[in-house]
């Protein structure tokens, strides 16, 4: 048992992964999995209905499942309720509201589980709308947290309302015109004059109908399915669905990409990797306390599995989006994680002392958690704005800068582990110390090259796009700070101004510089890379920087106390 349990743990993990490939709605009478695969247009790209469900629920509820007293709904089941059984959906407590000031403004009490239903929020709609419209015109960094949260609540209510309207049909022309404006996505693949697909809303399609013409098959299908779902009639539902799917077989659209995205949604590769990285980190810690009973081996197997899944997930995103890996803040976090874990695995291969794996697992977990928190505000596979619409520069500048971030974090984290171990172990271990220093030094050199290259490529892109190589944009300044800091550490080491311990301390500061450059500058609210102020992120950022300063202090104290 002792010998084989690491392998067993790997098999179990792989099994859990395999299970996630299977559709989740097999047990219901209505073939919901096939409905989830139906293509619609939203946000400028064709995606499965499943994505609409998951992203909307994430934005409204903060999670991808709804836990009700009697049962648990998947995101797609929830969407079906919203669209076709509205009376029931409006009773479900899905709207997440944490801010007590917002609750006070709408005369609601705080609850243990901070979720409220559309039904109970609806009477307060005029109040919310009035408050939100006052603050819509303020820039996001000028709003207080109350103002931000109430505007956010308003937008979520609008989204819910639009989702309810999207698959409705009506007879009256005025009703149809209203519905055409109030749709959350475009489910009807009509053809324009040139014969290309122009996705429209149900209502618009009906408005476009010439007299005595038959409605579009999509309109018929969704209308019939809606009625059948509402009446709990699985036969009619599946019937209408099957006929529409057959019609769709002859339609030429991005079918394989939509199917890939559906599978990607089901498997949730980054969530899987996140959990396994955490497990690996725990296993490694345990193996230090109780070595030789297999935790190192289990950790070794599992981290490779997690990394494989992480890699496949990253590539899947690239294929679905047809873009290089880093296109927004969310994907930058995924890529930073992928790069740091990869480099950590390389280090482990070279040095074989367990440190590489530990650092890889910890950083993999941390970056994926950051990514997870960044995925709540909308579709992470969003389209690129015009000026960013250049695959060449996205693949070169953005990737290099992100590699620079990854490696600076890796060296900083390695240095952090060095300082913490030295502080708590005390006993000098020259061989291990030397290999640590070589690791950190090597990674800092790597980081120097890529952060410089990335910054230069950014300048060249800017020169091609706006006519100036360097514009002192906050993000550019942040990148410059990383390059300068990496150069500074290296020169301090080469000139022997810093000894090994101080070199580690300086490397830890690299974490502060990089987090400022990656997240901090986005929150200043100015310049070309501004995303606006995010209060919770700011608090985490400050906490992180403070923690790094503490470690630096520890290292400095270590250095000067040893000198005596």
């Amino acid at each position: 048992m002792k010998r084989s349990w690491p392998l067993l743990s790997l098999i179990v993990a792989a099994g859990i992964l395999a299970a996630s490939f299977f559709p989740k709605h097999r047990s219901t009478d209505m073939r919901l999995d096939d409905v989830a695969a139906l293509p619609v247009l939203e946000g400028g790209r064709v995606k499965p209905l499943d994505t609409i469900a998951r992203v909307s629920l994430l934005m409204i509820h903060g999670r991808q499942t709804v836990h009700l007293p009697q049962r648990t709904l998947t995101a797609f089941e929830w969407l079906m309720d919203v669209m076709f059984r509205p009376e029931e959906a409006n009773r479900e407590n899905v709207f997440r509201i944490d801010n007590p000031d917002v609750l006070g403004a709408i005369h609601m009490e705080q609850r243990k589980r901070p979720y409220y239903s559309f039904g109970e929020l609806r009477p307060e709609f005029p109040t919310i709308e009035k408050q939100a419209s006052e603050f819509q015109n303020l820039k996001s960094e000028q709003r207080s947290s109350y103002q931000r949260d109430i505007v956010n609540l308003f937008n979520r209510l609008i989204l819910y309302h639009k989702l309810q309207n999207t698959l409705l049909v009506a007879q009256d022309k005025n009703d149809l015109e209203f519905l055409a404006q109030a749709s959350a996505f475009s489910p009807v693949p009509e053809f324009d004059e040139k014969g290309k697909i122009a996705w429209t809303s149900m209502a618009q399609s009906l408005l476009n109908l010439k007299p005595a013409a038959r409605p579009h098959p999509a309109v018929v299908a969704y209308a019939l399915m809606g009625q059948a779902y509402h009446d709990f009639d699985p036969t009619s539902f599946n019937d209408a669905l099957a006929r529409y799917r057959e019609w769709l077989l002859n339609l030429s659209y991005e079918r394989s990409r939509v199917q890939a995205e559906l599978l990607f949604n089901r498997v949730q590769p980054f969530y899987f990797s996140l959990v396994v990285y955490l497990l690996v980190a725990i296993f490694i810690f345990v193996s230090w306390i109780k070595p030789q009973i297999g935790f190192e081996r289990a950790a070794h197997h599992l981290i490779l599995l997690a990394y494989l899944v992480h890699t496949v997930g990253l590539f899947a995103r690239m294929i679905i989006q047809a873009r290089p890996p880093v296109t927004n803040l969310y994907s930058s976090a995924i890529f930073v994680g992928w790069m740091t874990v990869g480099l950590g695995l390389v280090l482990e291969r070279l040095y074989k002392n367990g440190i590489g794996h530990l650092v890889a697992a910890c950083l993999g977990f941390l970056t994926l958690i950051i990514a997870h928190h960044l995925s709540n505000s909308g579709d992470t596979l969003e389209m690129m704005r015009a000026v960013l619409d250049s695959n060449f520069w996205l693949a070169t500048h953005v990737v290099c800068v992100t590699i620079g971030y990854s490696s600076t974090f890796l060296s900083g984290f390695l240095a952090l582990v060095y300082i913490l171990r030295k502080s708590f172990q005390g006993a000098p271990d020259d061989k291990s110390d030397v290999s640590f220093e070589k690791m950190v030094y090597g990674v800092v050199c790597f980081s120097m090259f890529f952060s410089f290259l990335g910054t230069i490529l950014g300048g060249i892109w800017a020169d091609q796009s706006w006519g100036r190589f360097w514009g002192w944009d906050p993000k550019e300044n942040g990148a410059l700070l990383i390059v300068l800091w990496n150069a500074f550490i290296l020169h301090a080491r080469w000139s022997k101004t810093a000894n090994r311990t101080m070199f580690m301390v300086l490397a830890v500061f690299g974490n502060i510089v990089t987090s400022f450059s990656w997240f901090g500058v986005n929150m200043l609210g100015i310049g070309l890379h501004s995303y606006g102020f995010m209060e919770e992120t700011f608090i985490w950022l400050i906490a992180f920087m403070a923690s790094q300063l503490l470690v630096m202090g520890l290292g400095t104290w270590l250095n000067f106390s040893h000198k005596k």
Binding site: L41, E42, G43, G44, R45, F185, S186, A198, W199, E382, M383, R385, A386, V387, D389, S390, W393, G442, C445, M448, F449, F452, L453, I456, G459, I460, W461, D463, Q464, S465, W466, G467, R468, F469, W470, G471, W472, D473, P474, N477, G478, L480, L481, L484, W485, F488, V521, L524, G525, I526, G527
Partner: protein, 352 residues
Amino acid sequence: MVLVLWGTLAQVHLGTYPAQRIFFDSFFVFRRFGSMRIPIFPGGLTLGLAWIVNLSAAYVGQVRRHLHKVGLLISHLGLILLLAGQFFTQVFSIESHLPIQIGESQNYSESSRAVELVLIDKSNRDFDEVTSIPSGKLKAGELSLPRLGLTLSVKKYFPNAVLSMKPELGPSEATRGVGAKVHVEEAPTVTQDDEENVPSALVEVKDAQGSLGTWWVSSALGAPQSFNSNGKDYEIYLRPRRYYFPFTITLKEFHHDIYPGTDIPKNFSSLVSLIDPEANVKRDNLIYMNHPLRYRGYTFYQASFGNNDQLSVFAVVQNPFAISPYLGCAMVLLGLAWHFLVSLTAFLRKRS
């Protein structure tokens, strides 16, 4: 690093360009103490120059002793080239913009920030004679223009102002022209990147016969204001500073593509016609994101648009040192890559 961090944080409340001027485009960062401006920190230009001097000195000292570290030497030389190139770019490059409507032709671009006071002599039928005074010279005081026989007395100059028509505030300080009906109050300069200053000046024009009147001129007052002196008709304006180029750009088409069903812009493109009588050039060009038009030392970039997609705005840059960052960076990267490979092979050889 301190300068970069300080300057970046200052950009938040000063606006990106004003902060850039104070911290990076200057030799020193100044602070007011009473009526004096004291330099309290070295600015971007000083630090950049110091860095260049440092690198060059180190270079000269090191070359002989460390010839085997060729890679590093090459990269430091590249760095010197990069910094020097940026220094010269900062000092010599001219950035302006060109807003142009569909169907319009233009042979000049305008500065986004600098203004000029112009007197246009319209007495000749075939051409206008323009006398231009850059805004730097428009401080309160006397400006004599002997060739025209005029003296301008700048009574007030506001880098930013608010103009209003409020009869209840009493008579305007201007005696003639549109400005006579307008009340102008000084305002603090803008700190938000999407706002613009409205420079304005109160100018009295005098010739040999005496004062011809006092006018308000402002970038917000575009209507012609005129006077007559020595038998010539002049118009006076305060307008964005113009940079003329020896050819003409005509905007034929402008396209603004968005992703279907969204507001997200997919592409902006302008079809322009370039006519250069001197070089006998007459051709069409497409200017779009990441694809500028380069001609005779001028580069035109698609920057913005407006007026319901009828107006295209180009950023125009004249920078003879534009190639320097490319050369400098190429050298640095070559040097670093060389050095990295040399170190890597040594490392791997030691391990085996």
